[in-house]
């Protein structure tokens, strides 16, 4: 390793030699960096899972634009919209179709387990608004009290979910009605729900209280091929008489929902703080290690100064140590975090993942944080006075 670093740096790898000279301290330092990495990896995975869970229900549908109430910050929040805006929107030449989307929450008992499901009511006569994986069930949804369920719903046995199909439906009790499930699709639980249920708008109005046909939660609009969703949304805002409505491209609605969950909802803010705290812990640990190391070697640094080495040479040694700690600490941190995240995923059913871009970003972030700590620690080098050596 020393030979490789000597070639890379073009000088003796003094930082490496200093770190490895005291093995116990090196191990403690690496454990500290790895610990900070674990904190950041886990918090990012949780934040990421929140984004995935927030964006996932948008994947159940296909639309060019979405009309929502002014206070609808997410798919499940906010007031209803009047269905009349759907008809006004259809007057735009580039809007080819429209459908109401009802969103509600149902709680049901199944096999002794209480499940909370976000339930979507759709118009089965317009299957084009359903994602391809759900579209095949549109005809079955026209049957009274029928539905399709998220196969990954917490509380649903895997074998039971896999066996679900038109030939082997499952029945559930919802608010005193028997709901027949003819199929399933891949969803997954979120932070507030165990899974998802898709039914027809007519069934929705029966299983969710106090809802009316004329007041869906959102309106989905399909656009002509090649239409500019942003421009059509802008033109619709002028066309529709209620200026408070949020008329957005469907992808934008999804992105804004994720941003809302991450930055304005308490859970997102708490997870964001977790990431910041992880970074701060890492900074403090690396600063402490490097600062102590500089203090321990202050006479040696002063000797280098007396010999004619420039200040930047000394800074290079400290930064070399910082980078080594960052790179060596990130590996064990990643492995421990991966094991923890896997355990959390199995326990909660949340879509906790550590994607390659996240790993690369954290490693780069660790290097930057360690370099920052190293830069702070080098302030102590100013006290290395070669005159004190005599």
């Amino acid at each position: 390793m020393t030979a490789i670093l000597t070639r890379l740096l073009g000088r003796l790898p003094i930082g490496w030699l200093q770190l490895t000279h005291n093995r116990a301290r090196l191990i403690a330092a690496l454990a500290g960096v790895a610990f900070a990495n674990v904190l950041v990896f886990v918090q990012l995975a949780i934040m990421g899972s929140m984004s995935i869970a927030t964006g996932r229900p948008y994947d159940f549908f296909e639309a060019g634009l979405m009309i929502s109430a002014a206070d609808a910050d997410s798919l499940t929040d906010g007031s209803n919209v009047a269905r009349q805006w759907l008809f006004q929107a259809l007057a735009h030449p580039q809007v080819t179709a429209g459908a109401p989307l009802f969103v509600g929450n149902v709680t049901l008992q199944h096999a002794g387990t209480t499940m909370s499901l976000t339930t979507f009511g759709v118009d089965p006569a317009q299957p084009g608004f359903l994602a391809p994986a759900l579209r095949g069930y549109a005809e079955l949804l026209t049957l009274p009290d029928s539905g399709i369920i998220d196969r990954l719903t917490r509380g649903l046995e895997p074998g039971e979910a896999d066996a679900l199909g038109p030939a082997s439906p499952v029945t559930l009790e919802v608010r005193g009605r028997t709901l027949t499930l003819y199929g399933g699709f891949a969803g997954g639980g979120g932070f507030g729900v165990d899974g998802y249920l898709v039914v027809s708008d007519q069934t929705f109005l029966k299983v969710v209280q106090n809802r009316q046909t004329a007041a869906p939660d959102h309106i989905l609009l399909a656009l002509a091929p090649g239409a500019d969703a942003g421009r059509v949304a802008h033109e619709l805002r002028a066309l529709v008489s209620d200026r408070t409505l949020r008329i957005r491209p469907y992808a934008q609605a999804r992105a804004e929902d994720i941003a809302y969950q991450q930055t304005r909802r308490p859970t997102g803010i708490i997870f964001g703080f977790g990431v910041v705290i992880g970074i701060l812990v890492g900074l403090v640990i690396v600063y402490q290690v490097l600062s102590t190391d500089v203090a321990d070697h202050i006479r040696e640094y002063a000797t280098f100064k007396a010999m004619g080495y420039r200040q930047r040479f000394l800074l290079g040694i400290v930064l070399e140590e910082a980078l080594i700690l960052a790179l060596l600490g990130a590996g064990p941190g990643y492995l421990v975090a991966r094991a923890l995240i896997g355990g959390m995923r199995r326990a909660t059913g949340l879509p906790l993942e550590l994607g390659a871009p996240t790993v690369v970003a954290v490693v780069i972030g660790t290097v930057v944080a360690c370099a920052l700590s190293g830069a702070l620690a080098t302030r102590r080098l100013a006290s290395a006075d070669p005159a004190d050596l005599f």
Binding site: R11, L12, I14, L17, Q18, T20, H21, H297, R299, E300, A302, T303, F304, K305, A306, M307, G308, Y309, R310, P386, A387, L389, F390
Partner: protein, 228 residues
């Protein structure tokens, strides 16, 4: 002696430590010229200002009053960059060896070679090994300082100071930890380099054997040069 023959010329040099009422003068109006290639020994009782004078001439301390010309360059008011460049032409041997504990003997010496060397890079390792061998450390080349005796450490420190082909060597009790034979080897080497390359040595020592080998002995008393 004309100035061109001098490695160091100090004129009217005074130095104080501390501030305000605690301010204490350590060097009083010293005039001293050190010839190129000579071995000059500074002697005097403890606290007489020998080490302070050594660090002032070695551009490790700012000149407060008076003048020091080292290798033709004025140190008073010189910018840090100039001082750093000058230090690369010097060698320092400290009483406490100040070796880097994480580096082997060879690596410590390499640090001295690399900072001031005008040799090609490929020769640096050979130079380090050669000078360590010359100082009787051929079998300790890859030892860490923790595994060397006090005398061996001091010889590594001497090797480090000489490895970069310095024009002036400043040494503070360099032979304090050495036995007689090793001391004679070191002083012999310094004298040889003085004769061969014109290397100047300024040394603080109480070792009477070395004093006898010096080209010039300067005695300091209470911060002043005592009359010869």
């Amino acid at each position: 002696m004309v100035a061109d023959d001098a490695a160091i010329v100090a004129a009217g040099l005074s130095h104080w430590f501390g501030r305000g009422e605690a301010r204490k003068q350590a060097i009083f109006d010293v005039d001293l010229t050190v010839a190129r290639g000579s071995l000059t020994v500074l002697v005097g009782p403890s606290g007489s200002g020998k080490t302070t004078l050594l660090t002032l001439m070695g551009c490790l301390r700012d000149v407060q009053q008076g003048s020091v010309r080292l290798l033709g360059q004025e140190l008073a008011g010189a910018p840090e960059r100039q001082l750093v460049a000058l230090r690369r032409r010097l060698g320092f041997i400290f009483q406490a060896h100040n070796l880097h504990e994480s580096l082997t003997a060879r690596q410590n010496v390499l640090m001295g070679v690399q900072v001031g060397s005008r040799r090609p890079r490929g020769d640096e390792n050979a130079t380090a090994v050669q000078i360590l061998t010359l100082l009787g450390l051929a079998d300790r080349i890859d030892y860490l300082p923790a595994n060397l005796s006090g005398g061996q450490k001091q010889r590594v420190a001497i090797a480090r100071a000489l490895a970069g082909d310095p024009e002036v060597v400043f040494a503070d009790e360099p032979t304090a930890a050495l036995d007689h034979d090793s001391s004679m080897t070191v002083i012999g080497q310094l004298k040889r380099l003085g004769r061969g390359r014109g290397m100047t040595t300024v040394m603080v020592t109480h070792d009477s054997r070395i004093i006898g080998m010096a080209d010039r002995v300067v005695t300091l008393e209470d911060g002043r040069i005592a009359p010869a």
